[in-house]
Structure formats: structure tokens, C-alpha cells
Symmetry: C2
Subunit: 382 residues, 2 copies
């Protein structure tokens, strides 16, 4: 299958390129280096050194004998994107090319406007390029569980049948997110659902929870093939951040009461899920939605687990409850459904102590590179 991976340099993009390439798919990747550029501005580097995308593609070819073609350019430039579509004529697109940081989206006006423009125009451009070049092309869009927020009812997989005053209809599950970034993903869903209905596009929306981990089968060949692993407040995801904090002797940054509960998944499972979605595409005019998580934890659960395993490994791990810079419920009902991907064949890698231990040991190898100043900046929501 010919797969176009957008956001190919990111934490998930690069491992996805390798995973799909290893399985015999023909891969073209695009990235605008947004994350790398912001990391430089913020004086915050990935934990492990990461060669640039061209170099990673060359390394991958050395180790696997397989080519991944990459473009460093911007999908918000429609002429560029359309050119790639015309040359490659993809069977599927995996769309990670969004400004993915909640704190970044709350920094200031310029960052907010960038987030809206990048995410919405990028998604719009994809729908137009698909329609123009190959309307059967399957769009696999990374959504986020954050779109649902924390409603007081069970979260279903994307859709909800509503009975009201004796009549029924089926709707997108109600969404209300807790950052501008997450709100732009709701807006993406609005956009894709409109064009699915109107043009008969094929879309899978993977409503993903926070991902943790760094190892994949493909990166085992060479440490320079690991994904960009961020632990800073802007781009780091919570489990990865806690592990780095544990190794650095920095008290784990629990926001507020720590009762915030979310669904999580291992990086290896993100790859499986995307692969499974690609293997059984959505039908014409279908917006298929999966909740892409494998288990739920509160922030306190995560902090306690990292503390316990960290202490077993000899680290001095404290937990510090700090004033929550975000606006979110710290104690709430949370019961999402997530059976769709299991039904497709997902075999989850759960967050065992072994998994946490392996991650801590990875971080120990780069302990000297940890920049304590990048760990907490306190980007305020208000």
C-alpha cells in the first residue's frame, strides 16, 4: 500500500514510518520541523539526540534495505501538498501533522492563531487533495480522547444515539475539550465529518489518549532511530515526563489533586492501531471512530507507579502536588469504551512495572542531557 505520513518527524510519525515500511508499505513522509524549531526557541532538546529526517531515512535504509522518501515542507501550502499527492497517488494518508501541544496552544495569541491555522488548514488541504487526486484514499486521522473532555456519562466510540422527546437520531458523541489544541481537533472532526457526508470520503478518526514509551521493534537496530522523546512541559506526555523527573530527582509534577483520569497507551500500540486501521479501511462515506487507549489511570496512579518502580531502581522519587496551571476537573467520572481496535486485533502492551522499568532505564542512559529548567514552566490556562 502507498501511505503518505504527515508529521513524519514527530514522536509518533517517525516510528509509524518505520513500522509501515518494515511491513512492506511504500512510504512518503512530510514534516515542517515545527517541533524541532519550537524546541530550539524554548532551549529544550529531545532527551536522546535525533538525526534529522533525511538522515533517519538514510539510517533506516542502511538497516532495513527499505526506502522512505521524505519532504521537509508544509502541508498548509496546498500547492505543495497537491504536488506530492499527484506524484505519489497514496492509497492512504496518516495525518499526524498537527500542532500537538495543549500548553503551546495556550501560550499567547500568536501560538493560538498558529494552532488554529496549522491544524484546520492542514486538514482542509488533505481533504481537497484526496478529492482531487484519489477520492478512495483512506484518511487515518489522529484525533484525541481529549476531544470528549470529561463528561458525566459513559464515553462511546465516536457516536451516540440520542432519544429526545420520543424521537431518535445518531450524532457525533458530544465533545468539549480542555485546551485550544484539543478544541482544534474537535474542529477537525467537524470538518472531516462534513466532507465525509458531502463527498463520500473514507476517514478513520483515532481518538488517542496520551502515549508513553520510546522503544519499538524498528528502533532496536540503532539508537539513532528512536523517536523524538520530549520531557519538557510543551511537548512531553505525562508518563514520559514523570519518568524523566524520577531519574532527574525532580519531584513529580502532579497538577492539583491528581484525580484527572485519562486513557493511555504504549507507543507500540499506537503503531499497531494505525496499522490495523490501514489494513481494514473505512467504507466510502464512512467516518469510523475508534477510541485508541488500552487502559485508564489517574495522574496520581501514574505518579505512584513511577515513584514505586523508580525507588526500586534506586532513584529518589518525590511527588509534589502543584497548583494546577490548567483549567480542568481534578475529580470526575470517566468511563470510555475502547473495544473497536481490540475487535480489529489489537494486542495491547499494558503499563506493567517492567514497561516502566525499561523506560526508566532508557532515560538513565541520557541522564546528563536532562535540562531541569525545561521540566516545568507553568504555562497558565488563564
Amino acid at each position: 500500500m502507498k501511505v503518505l505520513v504527515l508529521g513524519a518527524d514527530g514522536y509518533l510519525g517517525w516510528p509509524t514510518c518505520m513500522y509501515l515500511s518494515a511491513r512492506g508499505h511504500e512510504i512518503v513522509g512530510i514534516d515542517n520541523y515545527f517541533r524541532r524549531n519550537v524546541l530550539k526557541e524554548l532551549d529544550s532538546e529531545p532527551l536522546a539526540p535525533v538525526p534529522d529526517l533525511h538522515q533517519r531515512a538514510s539510517l533506516w535504509e542502511e538497516h532495513s534495505g527499505k526506502k522512505i522518501h521524505v519532504h521537509i515542507d508544509d502541508i498548509t501550502d496546498y500547492d505543495f501538498l497537491l504536488g506530492v499527492f499527484r506524484d505519489f497517488v497514496p492509497d492512504a494518508v496518516v495525518h499526524y501533522a498537527e500542532q500537538p501541544s495543549a500548553p503551546y496552544s495556550m501560550l499567547n495569541h500568536d501560538a493560538a492563531a498558529f494552532t488554529v491555522r496549522n491544524n484546520l488548514i492542514g486538514t482542509l488541504n488533505i481533504t481537497y487533495a484526496v478529492r482531487e487526486v484519489n477520492p478512495a484514499c483512506h484518511i487515518v486521522k489522529l484525533g484525541t480522547m481529549g476531544e470528549y473532555g470529561t463528561p458525566n456519562i459513559d464515553i462511546e466510540e465516536g457516536w451516540l444515539e440520542i432519544e429526545h422527546k420520543g424521537r431518535k437520531d445518531k450524532f457525533l458523541f458530544p465533545r468539549q475539550a480542555s485546551s485550544l489544541y484539543h478544541t482544534t481537533k474537535i474542529q477537525d472532526t467537524d470538518l472531516l465529518w462534513f466532507y465525509v457526508r458531502t463527498w463520500g470520503l473514507r476517514v478513520t478518526d483515532l481518538m488517542q489518549g496520551p502515549v508513553y514509551g520510546v522503544s519499538t521493534d524498528e528502533s532496536a537496530a540503532d539508537p539513532r532511530l528512536v523517536p523524538i522523546f520530549n520531557y519538557d512541559e510543551i511537548f512531553g506526555t505525562v508518563v514520559n515526563r514523570f519518568v524523566v523527573q524520577a531519574v532527574a530527582g525532580y519531584p513529580l509534577t502532579v497538577y492539583g489533586k491528581g484525580g484527572q483520569t485519562r486513557g493511555y497507551l504504549n507507543l507500540r500500540d499506537t503503531l499497531q492501531c494505525v496499522g490495523l486501521a490501514l489494513e481494514s479501511p473505512s467504507g466510502k462515506g464512512e467516518l469510523r471512530v475508534f477510541n485508541q487507549v488500552t487502559e485508564t489511570f489517574s495522574v496520581n496512579d501514574l505518579a505512584e507507579r513511577v515513584q514505586r518502580v523508580g525507588r526500586e531502581l534506586g532513584h529518589n522519587v518525590e511527588i509534589r502536588e502543584i497548583e494546577n496551571p490548567r483549567v480542568e476537573k481534578e475529580d470526575h467520572y470517566y468511563n470510555p469504551a475502547y473495544t473497536g481496535l481490540l475487535d480489529l486485533g489489537l494486542e495491547p502492551h499494558y503499563m506493567t512495572d517492567d514497561v516502566v522499568r525499561e523506560l526508566i532505564q532508557f532515560v538513565e542512559g541520557y541522564k546528563d542531557r536532562i535540562n531541569r529548567d525545561a521540566i516545568f514552566r507553568g504555562v497558565k490556562w488563564r
Copy 2:
């Protein structure tokens, strides 16, 4: 009250400026002439000649003795908008400054991208300027009934309490629109609701149906004060279009079966509704939603009424069912609630035969200016 009117040159913007000015409010208006510029590109002019916005403000001052300050500039330029906010420090903003045409939004990629950028970045800029300059400022946002689409359940005013598996929560009423333009209004709602929750902004969302009419008390003083009245496929609203078609001897363009039912209101009632919303602002952290319509009709109802009254006035009015260029249901359930604005004191001007007659007579005065080629272009949704 100091009121900033965005989109001040438009079909609703200019009459709103005069209406509020006549009631003693201090008005600053902004417009980027988007509509005027597109009309030139499309070789389609408003039915009645319309002086530019500076000239209209001067005319209004001659007749009323009241000043309306206007800026021809673009609210997607944040520095410009913030400057106006800092100089004027408005108590309220009336936000009409959106690309308002469903067919325009479906023309091609560039028009779609413009619609997304203009509508989303404009709305984002307003929220930031309000927060920066006067967080108590009341944002009165023109939404559209089209955000709801045509669900198979009763449409409530903005919100819906949902009971699911024995638990309850209240959500924005589910929205799924039938054009990209209408979809951007859903996205605006997502954006405003997020910042209302996070920053405690005060917002009223007026979910307006298609507006018809041209006369207002304020424009009676001088024919050059009438609003921009469009009858072309891009900017004309359906009743106004049918009336022009009736006078031009052009068969009324009913799309498909004509069973499409919507809520409508008289231009005079738009002004009342906006005035009522301004007089009783939303609370801090409240997104208040009103369905701004006064009665519902199917397209066939409207065509038959215009035909009947037109024939009484001696016009040769035929109705032609043409292939629907849009993707929409032509036969559907439709039962919206619209009591909120009545409770605030709205006194509706219903679509009586007299009202249709008066509108036909207005159009007769400009019969020679009707450009038949602009009436139907058939912008296709697919």
C-alpha cells in the same frame, strides 16, 4: 453603551449600526469589503446602489445627527483589531464579520481555505482582544440555525440534556451542517465555548435563520441608506432571491423537491434580537444561545407565497424545480424551539402577504438593474 460592529458594511451589519446608533449607543464599525470585492469579481451588483461605508456613515450623520465611526480593515489582522479595542474599549461586540455564503464556501479550495481562515481566525482574534482589553465585554455572535442541520429530533435552543446508561449531562446541542460555511460556524461555537469555560467570557450566540427584507425604520430617511440587497446565488438569501426572480420573470429556483424546511425572520427582527441581546448581556462564563427565527417554512411554501403575491401584482411567476446542486435532505423532520428571544421581548414581524408585497414593490423600483445571469450559477456541492 459602546458597541463595536464587525462586518458593518454587510446586509445585516449596516442596518444594525444605524439601529443601535438611533437608540443612543456609540458605534464603531469595521468591514474589510469582502462582499463588495467578491461581487465585483462575480460581476454581480447589489440590487440598489449602495454608497461606500464612509459615505453611508456621513449620510446617516446628516439625517440623524449621530456619528458612526468606521474602519475599512480586516479583523484577521490581530494588531489592527487590538488597536481598535484599545482605543474604543467596547462594552459589547456584534460579530457579523464572517464569510457568510454557503455556495462561496463550496466554490473551490481557495474559497474554502479563505472561509476557514477568515471565520476562525477572526473569531479567535475577538476572544483574545476581549480578554486583553475588557474581559467583561459582551460578545454577540451571529451563529446560524444551519449549524444544527436537520436532525430527526426536536432542535432545542443551543443545549441538550442527555441521559445515557443511567447518567446525565448537559451538552451543546449536536451540530452537523450542510455546507463548509455552516461548518465553520460550528467551529466558531466550539472556539467560543472553550474560551467561555476557560476565561469566563460573556457570549450570546444568535442561531439565526435566513433573513429576508430590506426596509428598516432607519433606512426610511434616505434610499441610499438601505442595506446591501443581493439576489445572486452567492450572497442572496432565498426569499429575497425569489422576489427578484418574480419581478424579473425568471422561474423561481426551487432546489430539488423543495421540502427543505428552515426557520426564517424579517430583517427588522434581526435588529430587535441583537438589540435585546445587548440590553441583557450574558453572565460571566455564560454561553447563552437563542434560536433567532420567528416562523418556519419549506422552500415550496416560500415559492408558492411569492408566486401568489407576485401574480396579484401582475407578474408572470413560474416555479421551476431544478436539480439540487447542494447535498441536503429535501424531505425531513424539522421542529426547532425559539422562545428565548420572545421571552426577552421580541415582537415578530411575520411574513404576511403585505410584507411580501412591500418587498416586491421595492424590487420593482430597481427592475432595470437586475442581472439575470447572476441569479443562478449552479455552484455544486459535489
